[in-house]
Symmetry: C2
Subunit: 328 residues, 2 copies
């Protein structure tokens, strides 16, 4: 298989013109007369990323025969919200490198990173209020709330090894699944109506997003920072008990559990992730988590069966593999 | 004159039932099943504050004969956005006490304060998407953007003594005037139409808000933390060159200017505000600034002349005095 970025480009080829338009909207929206603000926006623009969420709005529009002229704008709004969460996330977990570009809060400061995230949110909402239907504003304001609740709960449950898989899923679903879910629902049913199909595609997005988060959590434990393109090991440093750790913890005896807990409180943060591998069978935990991510992707794919065959449906199918096999 | 809180209550008496409804909306909206999130919301709820911005939506509705059943909800949305800016502001300037309640980021941490601010913004936007007209969503999303740009510019221009009064006004207007302006415009013309009257009342709000910010900047230099109810002296500590300092700086000779600049870079932050008084005639700067705030209030009041006499118009008139004479 060719390199993953090439793969992603192929995957998004059914919506290549929509993506171009989405990027055009982003470029024209993220424009500010204030030079200092523009400078920061440009910096954030370089985060770019996979634009997978925006891509899913467009693919879902094509796959359901629901594409409208406004879909590229909706895709841009979804990407702007995602960028805002990334900017605020960099304050949260002290990640040192995000996609090989120095984080905003390292180059400027926390103050400005908070404000720029707020700026991106407000731009996204403002843009959504000019669409012909209010569905995007409604759905994405609710989604942003859900993301915040998920992130707050995750923060509150740091170092909590009594976390159940159910709670992990609820939180990962809220902080990551919900935006994928909204992207797919909007793609499938904007400007309105079609609740049944929308609900089905929403579930597709949710499961793909949850799988994406699980893979992310595995990469944070086992990935190579150079390939992943952002700091790894930050979850353990921050005391976040993710699914692979939960698995290995729940299958350990009391001594094993105590050893894991001890590693999570080592004063040298960087040592935590390194030592974790020594005190438990992390690979088995990762394997079980990846199996579950695979199961979620299969479940999601089954939801596509009701759609008529098309290149976009094929792409959504392949997207599951991409999510599972990505190393970045 | 009775105590200022009493005075404010009297002032808002023409809209007392609307305010009750506004508080009811706030109470029912700021409710979350997650106990940890609810705990934080409750904490923020205690910030309360003057609810002047929400009050202005209601007073303006009454004064222009434009009150609708939705005005209390709009007032609540404006207050939620204001609360979000306060929560994020506490990250920004490291203020230690806000309205005698420990700041969120002192009781929890910066992470959570960022997320809770985001939560408040998203709740506000979500609520606005359920109003019958989209005007509130549009205006407040644009206003939030303006606030962010103002705050970012302020942050970028710290320690900049070449700041012109024009730039100071542009920034203070963006970060404070804009939300007052939006509150008044919405009060006067929601659900739509009436651009001329709306524009006029928008200017009223802008001028009152700018005056409010100027008074705030004076209180930060001269106020008593116990009365003001939040930390004072933080502007000088943070390197913010506010109008009173600009005035005294521009009327100083080169030696005087150098002394002021030196004070702004003293390593002991708390010493900065104390020493500032020693090296320059701060009171004259404050006096000139207060004169200008008075002028702005007069200008704003003149805009009310087109409205028919009513208790609400009287209250908007008196509000100018309140803004000027408030010590908190």
């Amino acid at each position: 298989m060719s390199d993953p970025k090439q793969k992603l480009m192929e995957l998004l080829s059914p919506v290549v013109s929509g993506l171009e338009r989405m990027r055009g909207v982003l470029a024209s929206e993220l424009h500010e007369p204030s030079p200092v603000v523009q400078d920061m926006i440009d910096h954030v623009g370089r985060f770019q990323g996979k634009q997978l969420r925006g891509g899913m709005v467009l693919l879902m529009g094509e796959a359901t025969g629901n594409s409208t002229d406004e879909h590229p704008t909706i895709a841009a709004i979804v990407e702007m919200i995602h960028m805002a969460t990334l900017v605020h996330d960099d304050i949260l977990d002290g990640a040192e490198v995000r996609r090989r570009v120095a984080c905003l809060n390292q180059r400027w400061n926390n103050q400005v990173a908070v404000l720029l995230g707020d700026y991106l949110y407000s731009r996204a909402f403002a843009l959504s209020t000019h669409l012909s239907s209010r569905l995007t504003s409604r759905l994405l304001a609710e989604t942003t709330r859900t993301i915040c609740v998920g992130e707050i709960e995750q923060s509150a449950l740091r170092y909590d090894f009594d976390l159940t898989q159910e709670s992990y899923e609820r939180i990962a679903g809220a902080k990551t699944g919900s935006l994928y879910a909204a992207a797919c629902e909007l793609g499938a049913r904007y400007p309105g109506g079609n609740e049944v199909l929308g609900g089905q595609m929403r579930k597709f997005g949710y499961e793909i997003g949850l799988a994406f988060q699980i893979v992310d959590d595995c990469l944070d434990l086992a990935g190579d920072a150079k390939v992943v393109g952002k700091s790894v090991g930050t979850d353990v440093e921050d005391g976040k008990v993710t699914l692979p750790v939960l698995h290995v913890y729940s299958s350990s005896n009391e001594a094993g559990r105590a050893a894991i807990r001890d590693v999570f409180t080592l004063p040298d943060l960087e040592e935590r992730t390194l030592k974790l591998r020594d005190v438990c069978d992390l690979d088995t935990g990762i394997e079980r988590s990846m199996d579950y991510a695979q199961e979620l992707v299969e479940r999601a794919r089954a939801r596509l069966l009701s759609l008529p065959a098309s290149p976009a449906v094929d792409a959504l199918h392949v997207l599951g593999d991409f999510v599972l096999k990505r190393k970045w």
